[in-house]
């Protein structure tokens, strides 16, 4: 099992999760973060850090977000690791109010 970043992250990218990860398992795309399931050790620290509650254990990902399980694994192979916290995206606050299910179409790959 691993933890999974779901749609709520799109457009926000707060990166508080990156700072606490003890094994640097996050990767970064233009407007989304993903967890490398090969590296994640299920320590749970990132879950509580996410201001938009985007991170779930694989077994508890909401039904309308399950595609993110495979997507995290795929993006982890494609994107670069992010190991330090940085500023959220400029319009993070606005995006934080958009429902996760409505953000999928805006994911930049």
């Amino acid at each position: 099992m691993a933890y999974v970043v779901t749609g709520a992250c799109i457009g926000c990218k707060y990166t508080d999760c990156v700072e606490v990860c003890p094994v640097d398992c996050f990767v970064e795309g233009p407007n989304f973060l993903a967890i490398d399931p090969e590296t994640c050790i299920d320590c749970t620290l990132c879950v509580a850090e996410c201001p938009v509650n985007a991170i779930y254990p694989e077994a508890e990902v909401p039904p309308d977000q399950v595609e993110y399980i495979a997507l995290n694994a795929e993006l982890a192979r494609k994107w670069r690791a992010i190991t330090n916290r940085k500023d959220p995206l400029p319009e993070a606050e606005r995006w934080a109010k958009v429902a996760a299910a409505d953000k999928r179409q805006y994911l930049e790959l």
Binding site: M1, D42, C43
Partner: protein
């Protein structure tokens, strides 16, 4: 002389554990449910399949010769590896016990008065005390009396069975606070102020993820207020800590959430109630107080050399135990020393060592001579190194703390070195002179094991948590520590402590000193991607997380335990003839139990008793449970003035009988449920999975 070590055993709960284990092995209880049961009995899963860690609860670290023998016996008979580990909470844990053997281990330990109950899980963990409690010339009071009283009060207390997360308590006998209160969820420090004796109370401290320094919530309380005050802080944690985000459910996060002042206000609200419920009780823990001397402060662990006790002619003999590991022969050897020299106890200490109290000064040399063939002896400068088990056995381990720790030493200045295998802080790195914890950093496409460094920690009175330094590749950690020690030796002013030195030089100085060691060039990545003791590339095993935060809780279970806590208060208030308060408790009990059952059945947890009664009636038309709750609700709504003592007794009996009937129904509905420990005394409702007799007689002896 020191108080007798108290027996904390409940034999019946071991038999219940065994029956639950057999039901689990037959496939009648799910893994999650059984995990919760075993954690409550101090049994953890291990990195290795099929074997377990058994943690023995040792309040204040005090053990008798018989108990050491019992631990040795269990170790030899059941564990696959000949080693026990002394923990920083003064427990002793044994690893590699096959699951099937765990009941036998618990029984062997119980025969010597040892319990494992609430050594793990979301409970109040082992309470620790300053190592020299009862022996120290500086003490105001022998806090082992208060610690023992608090243990008696909280062990198996319903309030403490399903807390949002674990809870750690320490006792210190004077302001020097050798028990390191500042890192505890709740700390009691004996103080002498303005001619009065009592306790200073601190709360909200914690290490691990986001370390917090405890805040003072009561500058002074009287001895008789100890239990109500402690209970108020536990109740505060129970009521407000977030049960859904376990990474944030320690009490330290409530200080952030409410702010220090708000936290204290919330604590005071709880205190009004706990104080009222405990009013008039004369059985509070107490001891004789005195001003205490001004001698040497012994420090947080075992004293570093033989220490003269307050009792004339007697001394404390410290025994160094490298990274806290002892084998059966050593346990038996120390037991023989106790017997031969007529000593009543040995203590485990927070720095993973042992100490022998009450040794006649003329026996000291003979004792060390006796210990030498066992490979044990006095602490030596530099060997004050503490390590958690790390990747050797712990499911949460990231780095191999037990391999690297023996390579480290604190040098001539005898610095305290603390090595944790992950961020969870079991080796208490933020209280060491030099503390490190393991993590992985991804660099140049490789996951490279690192140690996050901390410098200048001291958890005692007037101290502070260590300051975060750089993260160093684990292959270079010995070099890093050697360099810091050397710099300290060269630039230390007079007798300056390491704590003071770090603060004078500033963390920027240490960052600069170690800067080159943090740099990883692409061509170095392959070589650095190997942890101490590893043959291949560093990899953190994915084990589905740890069990430290406990297994998932069944809602109706926590409802029943909360109701049991309310029942204790209800009866206390009735005894004090505070009928309105007693009725309020009874109403809460009805609501908790009713909501628990409604939720179990998939219904809506209505807040009012009448609405709950209707909901239950709708869900269970064939049962009388809803109608009976309706009847109780009407009675409970009558004003307190209308009640006489006998009528109230009768009403409360009815409520208890109804509670038991709800338990009976709930257990038949959910066949894995066991609510036994939350029911009023005198009632027994055997869980369905236990109706089948175990194949062998449960008690061997």
């Amino acid at each position: 002389m020191t108080a007798q070590v108290q027996n904390l055993v409940d034999h019946a709960e071991i038999e219940r554990y065994d029956e639950a284990l057999q039901a689990y092995l037959r496939g009648e209880i799910e893994a999650d449910r059984f995990t919760a049961i075993r954690l409550q009995q101090g049994i953890y899963g291990q990195r290795q399949e099929g074997v377990n860690m058994v943690r023995i609860k040792i309040p204040g670290g005090r053990l008798t010769a018989t108990q050491l023998e019992a631990i040795a016996q269990a170790l030899e008979t059941y564990a696959r590896h000949d080693v026990v580990h002394i923990t920083t909470r003064q427990d002793i844990q044994m690893h590699y016990v096959p699951l099937e053997s765990t009941p036998a281990v618990l029984r062997d330990l119980a025969r010597a008065g040892l319990t494992t109950r609430e050594a793990c899980g979301n409970t109040i963990r082992n309470m620790t005390a300053c190592p020299l409690a009862g022996l120290c010339p500086r003490q105001h009071v022998d806090v082992t009396r208060h610690l023992d009283g608090a243990v008696r009060h909280f062990l198996r207390n319903p309030l403490n069975q399903q807390l949002p997360r674990k809870f750690k308590i320490s006792f210190s006998a004077c302001e020097a606070d050798c028990a390191q209160g500042l890192m505890h969820d709740l700390a009691l420090v004996a103080v002498h102020e303005g001619g009065r004796f009592g306790f200073r109370v601190m709360a909200g401290g914690g290490l691990g993820h986001k370390p917090h320094h405890a805040i003072v919530i009561e500058p002074f309380i009287e001895e008789q207020d100890l239990i109500p005050v402690m209970e108020a802080v536990v109740a505060l944690h129970n009521r407000y800590s977030d049960r859904t985000k376990r990474a944030k459910s320690r009490i330290k996060f409530l200080v952030d959430r409410f702010g220090p002042q708000g936290f204290i206000e919330k604590y005071r609200e709880e205190l009004v109630r706990t104080r009222a419920a405990h009013a008039g009780r004369a059985d509070y823990p107490r001891a004789e107080w005195s001003a205490g001397g001004s001698g040497t402060v012994p420090g947080a662990g075992a004293p570093r050399q033989v220490f003269t006790q307050r009792q004339p002619g007697l001394a404390v003999v410290p025994i160094a135990v490298p990274i806290g590991n002892l084998n059966a022969a050593q346990l038996r050897g120390v037991a023989q020393v106790l017997t031969h020299f007529g000593l009543s106890e040995v203590r485990t200490t927070q720095d993973q060592n042992l100490m022998l109290p009450n040794v006649r000064v003329q026996d000291v040399a003979a004792i060390y001579a006796w210990l030498a063939p066992l490979g044990l002896g006095a602490p030596q400068p530099g060997d004050n190194v503490v390590a958690c088990p790390g990747t050797s056995t712990c499911r949460l381990g990231i780095t191999s703390s037990t391999i690297v720790a023996p390579k480290l030493d604190g040098g001539g200045a005898d610095l305290r070195i603390r090595v944790s295998g992950c961020h969870n802080g079991c080796a208490q790195p933020e209280t060491g002179d030099i503390g490190i914890y393991g993590e992985g950093k991804r660099l140049h496409g490789k996951l490279i094991p690192h140690y996050q460094t901390y410098f200048g920690g001291n958890g005692m009175g007037g101290g502070g948590l260590a300051i975060k330094g750089p993260s160093i590749p684990s292959a270079r950690i010995e070099t890093a520590i050697a360099r810091v020690k050397q710099d300290y030796a060269q630039t230390r002013e007079g007798g300056e402590t390491f704590y003071a030195w770090v603060r004078r030089k500033g963390i920027e100085h240490l960052n600069a000193l170690l800067a080159d060691l943090t740099e990883v060039k692409p061509e170095q990545a392959a070589q650095l991607a190997r942890d101490h003791g590893d043959e291949g590339d560093f990899r953190v095993l994915q084990l589905g997380g740890g069990e430290c935060a406990g297994a998932s809780q069944v809602k109706i279970g926590s409802a029943f335990f909360e109701a049991a806590h309310e029942r204790a208060y209800r009866d206390a208030f009735r005894f004090q003839r505070k009928y309105a308060e007693a009725l309020a408790c009874a109403e809460t009990m009805g609501r908790l139990v009713g909501q628990g059952l409604v939720q179990l059945l998939g219904g809506k947890a209505e807040p009012g008793l009448e609405a709950l009664a209707q909901a239950l009636d709708g869900l269970l038309p064939a049962e009388a449970l809803g109608r009976e709750l309706g009847r109780l609700a009407q009675a409970l709504a009558r004003p307190a003035e209308e009640w006489t003592e006998p009528a109230l007794v009768e009403l409360f009996h009815d409520l208890d009988r109804w509670t038991v009937e709800v338990a009976r129904f709930a257990q038949s509905f959910d066949r894995q449920l066991d609510l036994t420990e939350a029911l009023p005394s005198g009632y027994e409702v055997k869980p369905v999975h236990l109706h089948r007799k175990p194949q062998q007689p449960a008690l061997a002896a």
